[in-house]
């Protein structure tokens, strides 16, 4: 057994102990050790370790060197570093501006994206215990395929599931009876259209929509209404609305029982008022049993923890899923409410993402832009290193440690990043309203609040360290002797290859973004200029009231008296965005197993003329019905082809059991977004009172006069209601909202990434020019022309450019192609965009190099060579 104390403990003591105390402390523990080691060696060792640990106290621990330094000196040093930083900053305003500008624009871009992402991920988080709320989804299996709805039977009985504490049933929609006309107290002949929900009494207990005034459970009363703060103000101004009577549809009286706080914009459930189901039943004019057959949005709240899978299994149990529904191939799924906003796309009964894809896409773009901006800062500051070499040399000679030089550059980088952060946060707060209108979506969010501030500070440090670390390491490694002897040229500021590859990344990323936005633009242009087969310009869609439809003929004649109004027609579905397809159409000779989706649109005789559809065979609908027994229909060429009819005119079709007769063939037209293939269409004659929208076409360039005329005529027929209408062009744009937003965003990204890349080129070009000054001088002396001298400067960039193009073009091609695949109708991959982008980038870079290099080339070589 060795008689020595444990080495590691001894070493530990030597490591931590203050040198002036070490001898006596070590002496004491050794003495105690030697005393016992002869009799109890094991105990002695244990005691030694224990004593070493007990001595590990603050007063015995070594202080770091900086602590030993007088703090006054450190303060002076800090002040000197700051002064030098500011002087450097001011001496080269162009460079400093570019550094700040590059980083700020990158950060603005990233922060805007961050704001958007935070907004998108904050949906429905404001409820209490939001993770315990589930939405019941319904999958209906038909023909081996699944249709998924975010609805479930309103008669759903979950009393057999002990985990479920409450069930909220909500019926929402965008048209009557969810969008209703409310009349302000003062002006009763005006209409304010507001959208609301019908719900059971649990709406305000399952969700966190705080009630500000009145009854806590307003929906318990059968004739109650709860309204939002905003609605209360619009209808009653400052007056207390509680207890006032509102007439729903000017018929059913309800009492305002409560006022709730405006629904936050990051709620997936939006409404301005809430009514009990009793009112809906009255409006629809149906009895209890029919009401129970409806499907509504069903939300369940669980009390004890249960997984979504287990809950889904319980929902599909026979006690919940009725036999009747089961026989219709219906199955339920409990879907977490928190997932709903970002993952709402279902295919084949499975979730296939949704908006989350855009969140990821923009997240990556944001990170890339920040990366590019940081790369820039690194390039810019290392490029300038040679100019500061002397300063570093002097500092080192006068005794600066490597760590303090590195620290100096870290502080400088930190200052620069902080400044950029302040600029960009201010800018973001300022831009946010226009950004949210660019996204066509309200965003109410501020960066400087709560946790985000902490994240931002963390982000700031990360960026500052990334941007400062490399320059700090490189510059602090300079050897003073060589610097002061002017021998810096070799390996002047770090690994040149490293910085070149950074530039490759920058150039590739911006090239990809430029090309992609070009493709996106081309496709959007293609969509907007594509002939849909019917007119959509200079046309409005008007939502008629029942009374207006009853006097349709006189309304139409009154309108047509105005020469600006071309035509009026009506249908029950807007051909711009028809939903749902009919598979129940049969025709003579239809094979039994064939299932074809056909869009069926009911319309009045004026519809085809108003829409500008062409009759290719047979006749248009006539004002008077000629065939009184069968419904007259017009079919498109595609429908004729699908049905395989040789002589379509006079053929008999059936919609379910209803007999129809083909009286004419019209041209093909698109009935939904161009993402989907064109469907066959059948127009059937419908009674005017079942029509849901009137279309009014007017002369181009007379929008203002025509709208005035239409509004006046409307008022004379329907004085109690405010006219509700939409321009067909705007509805069309709405269909491609995502694409339009994406194209606007890519324009923004293109601008920012291009400017960052150009700054990167400037950084490297500056450096090259400084390095090659002497070379150019010598070449000039030997008679090289200006162009030849320029070649020396551009040579550096040729390889960088070639690699960037080789990386970017295939990636851009792949992305664009993949994106275009999402459209059934698309432009060919436009190679011209690729060529233009690549050539444009080359020209731009050459221009930057020439502008920067021209001064050096023009300098008299004697001057550049004399400095030795």
């Amino acid at each position: 057994m060795n008689r020595q104390p444990p080495k590691w403990a001894d070493r530990f003591l030597q490591w931590y102990c203050r040198p002036e105390l070490l001898e006596e402390i070590q002496g004491d523990v050794y003495e105690l050790f030697y005393r016992t080691v002869n009799h109890y060696p094991r105990q002695a060792k244990f005691q030694f370790v224990w004593n070493v640990i007990r001595f590990f106290q603050w007063k015995n621990i070594k202080r770091s060197k900086s602590k030993i330094n007088n703090t006054g000196v450190a303060m002076d040093m800090l002040r000197n570093i700051l002064t030098v930083a500011i002087r450097n900053f001011v001496r080269q305003p162009g460079h400093s501006f570019l550094s700040i500008f590059g980083l700020s624009s990158g950060l603005i871009c990233a922060l805007l994206i961050l704001t958007w992402i935070i907004h998108e991920t904050s949906f429905d988080q404001f409820h209490s215990e939001p993770e315990t709320i589930y939405k019941v989804m319904t999958h209906v299996k038909s023909d081996g395929n699944f249709q998924t709805y975010d609805l479930a039977s309103s008669a759903l009985d979950v009393s057999s599931i002990p985990e479920v504490t409450a069930l909220a049933s909500v019926s929402s929609g965008s048209r009557w009876p969810h969008e209703l006309c409310f009349r302000p107290e003062e002006k009763t002949n005006e209409c304010i259209y507001l959208n609301g929900v019908y719900a059971n009494e649990n709406l305000f207990s399952v969700f966190n929509f705080p009630i500000l005034q009145g009854d806590r459970q307003p929906l318990k009363g059968a004739a109650n209404i709860a309204i939002s703060e905003k609605m209360a103000e619009r209808l009653y101004g400052k007056a207390n609305p509680i207890g006032k009577i509102i007439k729903i549809d000017d018929r059913h009286e309800v009492t305002i029982a409560s006022v709730f706080k405006n629904v936050p914009i990051n709620s997936s459930l939006q409404f301005d008022f809430a009514l009990p189901y009793h009112i809906l039943q009255k409006q629809w004019g149906i009895n209890e049993a029919m009401m129970a057959r409806n499907f509504f949005n069903i939300y369940i709240k669980t009390g004890s923890p249960i997984s979504a899978e287990a809950l889904t299994a319980k929902l599909n149990d026979t006690r919940v899923l009725t036999e009747e529904h089961k026989s219709q191939n219906v199955s339920y799924q409990a879907y977490p409410l928190l997932d709903w906003h970002l993952k709402s796309k279902f295919e084949g009964g499975k979730n296939t993402g949704g908006k989350i894809e855009y969140v990821f896409l923009f997240g990556i773009i944001g990170a890339l832009v920040v990366l590019m901006a940081v790369i820039n800062l690194v390039n810019m500051s290392t490029a300038r290193a040679s100019l500061r070499a002397k300063e570093i040399g002097i500092r080192k000679v006068t005794g600066a440690l490597r760590t303090s030089i590195a620290g100096q550059f870290m502080i400088e980088s930190f200052g620069l990043v902080l400044l950029s952060f302040i600029i960009s946060i201010t800018a973001v707060e300022w831009i946010l309203p226009s950004f949210s209108s660019l996204l066509m979506q309200p965003i109410e969010f501020h960066l400087l609040q709560g946790n985000t501030l902490l994240y931002l500070i963390g982000f700031l440090f990360v960026v500052a360290i990334l941007a400062g670390l490399y320059p700090a390491l490189i510059m602090s490694s300079f050897q003073p002797v060589r610097i002061l002897k002017n021998q810096l040229t070799t390996n002047a500021s770090g690994n040149h290859g490293f910085r070149k590859s950074l530039l490759v990344i920058q150039l590739s990323v911006s090239l990809i973004i430029v090309i992609f936005s070009g493709v996106l633009y081309r496709q959007l242009e293609f969509i907007t200029q594509k002939n849909l087969g019917f007119n959509r310009s200079n046309m409005i869609r008007l939502e008629p009231t029942f009374r207006l439809l009853k006097s349709y003929e006189s309304f139409k004649n009154e309108l047509l008296k105005n020469p600006n109004i071309i035509s009026v027609g009506g249908s029950n579905d807007n051909p711009l965005n028809s939903a749902g397809a009919n598979t129940g159409v049969t025709w003579p000779g239809k094979p039994d197993d064939l299932r074809v989706s056909i869009r069926t649109i009911g319309c009045n005789p004026d519809f085809t003329r108003t829409m500008g559809l062409k009759i290719l065979e047979g006749n248009d609908f006539q004002a008077e019905k000629s065939d009184t027994l069968r419904t007259e229909v017009l079919v498109t060429q595609e429908a004729v082809k699908v049905m395989g009819l040789k002589n379509p005119i006079g053929e008999e079709l059936k919609f379910g059991q209803i007999p129809c007769v083909i009286i004419g063939v019209i041209n093909d037209f698109h009935t939904s977004s161009l993402h989907e293939a064109l469907l066959p269409v059948i127009l059937y004659r419908q009674h005017i009172q079942s029509i849901s929208a009137l279309y009014i076409a007017f002369q181009p360039g007379t929008t203002e006069q025509s709208m005035q005329a239409i509004n006046n005529t409307y008022k004379s027929f329907e004085p109690d209601y405010t006219m509700k209408y939409w321009f067909q062009d705007e509805t069309f744009n709405e269909t491609y909202k995502t694409e339009i937003v994406a194209s606007r965003l890519t324009i923004l990204f293109t601008f920012i990434s291009l400017s960052i890349a150009i700054i990167g080129v400037i950084g490297l070009a500056t450096f090259t020019t400084i390095r090659k000054t002497k070379e150019i001088g010598i070449r000039r002396v030997f008679g090289a022309s200006a162009t030849q001298a320029l070649m020396v400067l551009t040579k550096e960039f040729i390889s960088v450019l070639i690699i960037a193009i080789l990386v970017a073009v295939p990636l851009a091609w792949y992305t664009s192609d993949h994106w275009l695949q999402g459209f059934a109708y698309r432009t060919n991959l436009p190679w011209s965009i690729f060529t233009i982008s690549v050539v444009g980038l080359i020209v731009l870079i050459m221009l930057v190099i020439v502008i920067l290099g021209i001064k050096t080339i023009r300098t008299n070589p004697t001057q550049s060579l004399r400095t030795e």
Partner: protein, 112 residues
């Protein structure tokens, strides 16, 4: 500032430094306290008290010659200063004075 106030352990250590004159150092003080007062302390605790007393100016120290038993290391020998001596006297005096004021009756314990 705690001023001249002397803690109980501090007083004990101070007394033992006096007793061990001129050989009072960490381990010796620790041993002596265990022998005389029957209290076993950890060496680090003794060190803390010794340094505190030195900071208060009640002790002074010097390094001894190297000794074999400590692997050739020197000891830090502690000595009472004039202030240390005075504060011991004051503590002693205060205690005696207070003790004498206790009424005799209070100290007469009988078997009840």
């Amino acid at each position: 500032m705690k001023g001249n106030y002397l803690g109980e352990l501090e007083e004990l250590v101070l007394l033992h430094v006096g007793i061990l004159y001129p050989n009072a150092y960490g381990v010796a003080v620790m041993d002596e306290i265990e022998k005389q007062a029957g209290r076993s302390l950890n060496i680090s605790a003794v060190h803390s008290v010794l340094t505190r007393l030195e900071e208060k100016g009640l002790l002074k120290s010097k390094m001894s010659d190297p000794t074999e038993e400590r692997g050739g290391r020197r000891k830090r020998i502690f000595l009472l200063t004039a202030a240390g001596k005075r504060s011991l006297e004051e503590a002693n005096e205060l205690r005696n004075q207070l003790f004498s004021q206790i009424p005799k009756v209070a100290l007469q314990f009988r078997l009840a």
